[in-house]
Symmetry: C2
């Protein structure tokens, strides 16, 4: 199997390095025959080549069986023009690889319940997946940076969805729900947006093919409340690109630590796997970043891209055991709880020890 490794910026470098070490160990154990091609993207690529997503990076990703992505971005590139900012790399990869769906599981490890901002009794048992549409909506609609209208400068962005786009993501949500607790919550703003009304009508029509799955609709503002008030009510949440961006980040922190949340972006060809946290330039290079989100993303890669279930299970179990023995990076460390504070490398070592 060919794995494309895109470390990106900031802590992206150190966390993907650890995840690759874990992949190598699991490869040695299960004989997967993995090979790696590492390429630049984001601000790092911009600095070297003047573009955040070199053609060669995209080509290597396309030719691979799975992409392991770190993180991109940083205030260093704040003054760069919009079309060349680090974020364009991830948006370009999503579009270039046709990654129409982002899956973010939020499951709370018992060992980390105390780390959620929510009360323990609200968080215990949370087990949901957000299925976010990833290459449509206002992210990729037509936009205008500046124009004059009636003597004033204005800018605009177009939100839009077509029936086939909505059907594709909704179908994935229904299929995902079938493998879980058979409940889909579709989130929109149909009381205000035309796009949401088309979304709702399309999801509702498709639901007829999935009579065994329960479908509810929630307005996005209500969903933002419900995630905080009663997150255990959710199984699969399906929503558009922008609402998904907001809600999945909210759901992630509620789950305890964004440092160990993985995500899978899947499409028609190669899939991409990345932790949900950012590039954290403030702590980059210090060896204190949490590598678990990336290691768990590598596990998702094993499972969803390579269909190596046993290898994926082994990595996830090793992470659970490292946490169970009390190993904690700074972001998930709480003093006086008997845990040991470790750095990026030691955390990965702890995972490796259990492989």
């Amino acid at each position: 199997y060919k794995i494309a490794v895109i470390p990106g910026d900031g802590i992206g470098q150190e966390i993907t390095e650890e995840a690759v070490r874990v992949l190598k160990a699991v490869d040695a154990k299960f004989g997967l025959d993995l090979t790696y091609e590492t390429r630049d993207a984001g601000g790092t690529a911009y600095d070297k080549y003047g573009t955040p997503l070199p053609e060669d990076t995209l080509a290597v990703c396309k030719a691979s069986d799975g992409v392991l992505f770190g993180a991109v971005g940083g205030t260093k590139w704040d003054a760069v023009e919009p079309a060349l900012r680090p974020e364009r790399a991830i948006l370009g990869l999503r579009k270039g690889l046709g990654l129409y769906a982002n899956l973010r599981p939020v499951k709370v490890a018992d060992a980390l319940i105390a780390h959620s901002p929510l009360k323990p009794e609200l968080v215990r048992g949370v087990d949901l997946v957000i299925v976010r549409e990833l290459i449509g909506g206002i992210y990729f609609g037509e936009k205008c940076e500046s124009e004059q209208v009636d003597g004033a400068e204005r800018a605009w962005d177009m939100e839009n969805y077509s029936v086939p786009e909505v059907e594709r993501i909704a179908r994935l949500a229904f299929e995902t729900a079938r493998l879980r607790r058979s409940k889909v919550t579709s989130v929109d703003k149909a009381n205000v947006l035309a796009t949401s009304r088309l979304w709702r009508r399309t999801v509702t029509a498709l639901a007829e093919e999935y009579e065994d799955v329960r479908l509810d609709h929630l307005y996005v503002d209500n969903c933002a409340m419900q995630l905080a008030v009663r997150p255990t009510q959710f199984d699969v949440i399906v929503t558009g690109n922008l609402f998904g961006d907001i809600l999945s980040d909210e759901a992630a922190v509620i789950g305890g630590s964004i440092g160990l949340m993985p995500s899978a972006s899947i499409g028609t060809g190669t899939s991409l796997f990345e932790p949900i946290h950012g590039s954290a330039p403030d702590i980059a290079g210090q060896g204190i970043a949490n590598p678990l989100g990336t290691i768990l993303s590598a596990a998702m890669l094993l499972r969803y891209a390579l269909h190596e279930e046993n290898a994926a299970d082994a990595v996830e179990a090793a992470v659970d055991e490292a946490l169970a023995e009390g190993k904690r990076t700074a972001d998930i460390y709480i003093a006086d709880t008997g845990c040991t504070k470790v750095g990026t490398r030691e955390m990965a070592d702890a995972v490796l020890a259990h492989l």
Copy 2:
């Protein structure tokens, strides 16, 4: 002073009735000489007149010194065509009255800390205001319910902001911050949206006039996280219509109970005051809804629309005392805490007793 009262749908009826009783009592005490004109809006108006916002309702509001609004909406009107849905009433009032800003204070009463889904140590001391732009953005941009493009049906909505629109709301946020802790957090999605880039540049330029106020920028996904993780970091949050809708609801539940959160929508003419919760058709007419959000909205009306500070203070103090003596409607009642569960009427009676 002329007050327009718009009960709307569902529990809107019973809660505005109690708020008017409180206004009458405070009038008797402070000699404010208030008169009331009650009008229909929402689904109730649609049922009677075939439109959710009769011209007469808007005219009465325009001719008043302040509008007290209950809530609109209900599944009963789900099949009504978009342009005639109950929600059009509140959107129409906002536009018709030029209510460009929605102010939502989130302050956590000590007595209600236990009611927040967040851990007490995270919630204690939260005192923020969300300043949401209310008559622009994707809510009022051009939209298309259905069109054929390349053989597929699609719908679209246009997000847009002009420099003057952003300046107006940002100015209000800076002025509001000056009366508080002098900190403004502007929320956008400038790494993706052109509109957000114009927003950010405009707010940043305006900040030069407010050098005594500290300005930060946050992406909306990050803000959704920060509100859950460390809500005490915020003083004034300023954002566009759609992000404001989502974030203010999230902030509200974090504050403990949406049942007692008021809001003020202000503009160039008459201002409007409404609780942030909805019409809750499931409990309408049962006399169990929490009237405090509406009563506190009436207090905001006294303060911001009529500039009757003393009367406003008296209402707010009476609400605090009713809560302090343990009176609780069902939504904020927790068993075995020594509190008394009361209905809508008794809760208002408790407030009146302290006036």
